[in-house]
């Protein structure tokens, strides 16, 4: 029983990270109908930004501390927001009028460009770097069950950001504009919405989410390398599809489900080798019965 509950905790902690990354994927998709594959690499850049900022910040606010961690995160978020807007401006904006497939392939190109540039010795280098401890760590031990403080931080952050995003998209003027752009770009432009500004904002917001996810991921597994985003990025993308891509609560739900499935499959002696296989087989089954994802709405496309 203890074993089962501990795996439940492990799975929720892992799933929250996937959920957090999936939020970024799904939000950009919701507005632009396009998968930003460079999202996982912005996540990596967020972790590296924090890695390089931490020693500087710790001279003013000694680390690990909550204030220090918040400042490091805030600065990394600002850097990644800039990078996200820059990527959109340089790589995606010139292709705005082209078929969606062109943009998708470009996104894969941007992703590979970032990964392999960063692996160069003169940039970050391919070796794993030790990530500094930003937050004080405490493991809560409740009747044989262990809950790490970092895991709690991840869960709380995911919930807060989910609520914040929902508020931005549904209740603010910017969010209304985002939804209008997502519905019909031409009509939105005719209504006086600055399309370029909305799309830049969306990418900035998505990259900010990626930076936070990157730092939390690095806190959980404090060894960072330029390819650290690939695996969780892929999982989060699948989580977003599972929850119904474009749907914010769906992404969170998909992430949690994927984390739980992986953890339970990975905890079986002798079967742990197949943990991804088992998890993904179940996902395929779910998608067979609900092709639009758990919370997604099936839409009919007019031809």
């Amino acid at each position: 029983m203890d074993w089962l509950l501990q795996q439940l905790i492990n799975g929720l902690a892992l799933g929250s990270i996937y959920a957090l990354i999936a939020l970024g994927y799904t939000m950009v998709y919701g507005v632009l109908r396009f998968i930003n594959f460079a999202h996982a690499d912005v996540l990596m850049l967020g972790a590296y930004a924090a890695y390089f900022l931490a020693p500087a910040v710790s001279t003013v606010f000694p680390l690990p501390s909550l204030t220090g961690a918040l400042i490091v995160t805030l600065l990394s978020v600002m850097i990644c927001t800039g990078i996200g807007i820059l990527i959109e401006f340089l790589a995606y904006r010139p292709l705005r009028q082209r078929p969606r497939l062109t943009v998708l392939i470009t996104a894969i190109g941007v992703s590979l460009l970032i990964e392999f540039t960063c692996q160069h010795e003169a940039v970050f280098g391919a070796d794993t770097k030790p990530f500094p401890q930003l937050l004080p760590v405490h493991d809560f031990n409740i009747g044989g069950l262990v809950i790490g403080s970092n895991d709690l931080v991840v869960v709380v952050t995911t919930l807060v950001l989910l609520a914040a995003l929902w508020f931005i998209v549904q209740r603010t003027k910017m969010g209304t504009a985002m939804r209008a752009v997502s519905f019909n770009q031409q009509a939105a432009a005719l209504m006086g919405i600055n399309i370029n500004r909305i799309i830049s904002f969306t990418f900035g917001l998505g990259s900010a989410l990626a930076a936070i996810a990157g730092i939390l991921y690095a806190l959980k597994a404090p060894g960072i390398d330029p390819l650290m985003g690939v695996q969780p990025g892929l999982r989060a993308f699948i989580a977003a599809v599972l929850g119904g891509i474009g749907n914010l609560p769906g992404a969170a739900l998909g992430g949690l489900l994927l984390g739980l499935l992986e953890t339970f499959a990975g905890g079986i002696s002798g079967l742990s080798n197949y943990r991804d296989g088992i998890a993904f087989a179940i996902l395929i089954l779910i998608l067979l019965f609900k092709p639009a994802g758990l919370l997604g709405k099936a839409s009919v496309e007019k031809v």
Partner: protein, 379 residues
């Protein structure tokens, strides 16, 4: 700080040797080729072994060279990539005319070079590839390190006799031949000692979350866990094991030995054990001299096992060339095969019929953020 300054230094140095080496035709010296992973994923290993080799060649040349001739080392980088090794080894043999080839640490890449050297009849000495298959390629392939069956057995004996463990969990990296081989020989040795394997879990090298498997291991209540992985994964495993309250010792092989393990793992890797080729804090005079020379040459850096093996591989080859009395590849090969007791930094080496080095292993423990010498296990 030290590491950060060293890396550009090492890279610059490597580039320099490469540039001067590439442009120059042999001027009557003995040409020895070397391939190593100087950049990319396993760069730590490649740079260490290369520095050891370089130190050996410089020492030889300072003492007047071999057979009265200067030794020329031509180094090529395979970028830790599959496929690149065959290119550079072909170049070393056919274009540069190397009489022998040294390389490399990772078994998979040594396995790529071995058939090429064998076909050309050029002797190859691997400093640190422990997978048995490497020397099975043919009679031109040698190594100066022990092989995985020995390393696995050493750890099995250590876990059952010194740690007095009877129940052990094995946690294997299914992506790596090295890890799977080591796990297999450990399990055989440990069950032969009367021990019991209570759980067998797997991970994929590069994973970041190991809590699912570690919780299962905790549930099986073993006395120790055998984790034959590479240092980056092991560091994260140790951290998450500690978080889950798994306080039993973790044990592993020579893939653990890297400063990165300590940098990432910090206090979570304290007290754990692994087997490797040599200990830099051992008292033997050859080790003390080597460590002093290496520190002097490379800005005070302490040589790890890969550096010591890189040094040994070059010295071992030079010794064979001296005994052969010529630079003819067949004569060198025969002299290498006839090596009986060569005094290397990593211990006395005898070459057996499979062209593997028969030598002792050491067991280290991580204590106060350092690798501490614990015991030597004879073959």
């Amino acid at each position: 700080m030290n590491r950060r300054r060293l890396l550009p230094c090492a890279t610059a140095f490597v580039l320099l040797t490469c540039f001067t080496g590439c442009g120059k035709k042999s001027d009557g010296g003995i040409v020895i080729g070397e391939f190593a992973s100087l950049t990319g994923k396993e760069a730590t290993f490649g740079i260490s072994s290369h520095e050891g080799t370089l130190l050996a060649i410089e020492t030889l040349n300072a003492a007047g060279g071999v057979l009265g001739k200067k030794v020329e080392l031509l180094t090529e980088d395979n970028q830790s990539k599959a496929g690149e090794t065959s290119n550079v080894v072909n170049k070393l043999i056919s274009k540069d005319g190397a009489v022998a080839v040294l390389g490399e640490v990772a078994s998979s890449r040594s396995l790529e070079a071995a058939p090429i050297c064998q076909q050309n009849g050029i002797p190859m000495v691997s400093p640190a590839s422990t997978n048995p298959k490497v020397t099975e390629t043919g009679d031109c392939i040698f190594r100066v390190c022990f092989i995985d069956p020995f390393q696995g057995t050493v750890m099995a004996n250590f876990v059952s006799k010194t740690l007095k463990a009877t129940k052990v969990a094995v946690f294997t990296d299914v992506k790596s031949d090295y890890s799977k081989g080591l796990a297999k020989f450990f399990k055989e040795g440990f069950t032969k000692n009367g021990g019991q394997i209570v759980a067998e879990l797997d991970f994929n090298g590069g994973d970041k979350d190991f809590k699912a498997q570690l919780t299962a291991i905790k549930g099986a209540a073993p006395d120790a866990v055998f984790v034959p992985g590479y240092y980056t994964d092991v560091a994260l495993i140790a951290i998450q094991a500690k978080q889950l309250g798994l306080t039993i010792p973790l044990c592993g092989g020579d893939g653990w030995e890297s400063q990165t393990l300590l940098d990432i793992g910090k206090d979570a890797v304290e007290g754990h054990y692994f087997s490797t080729h040599y200990a830099s804090d051992a008292a033997s005079p050859s080790v003390v001299a080597f460590v002093a020379d290496y520190k002097k040459r490379f800005n005070g850096k302490v040589p790890d096992a890969m550096a010591a093996l890189g040094y040994d591989s070059a010295m071992f080859l030079a010794d064979a060339i001296k005994r052969a009395g010529s630079t003819d590849s067949t004569a060198i090969r025969d002299a290498l095969a006839a090596t009986k007791d060569f005094e290397a930094v990593t211990g006395k080496i005898a070459i057996n019929a499979q062209r593997d080095a028969v030598k002792s292993a050491v067991i280290l423990q991580i204590k106060d953020g350092k690798f501490k010498y614990l015991e030597t296990v004879a073959p």
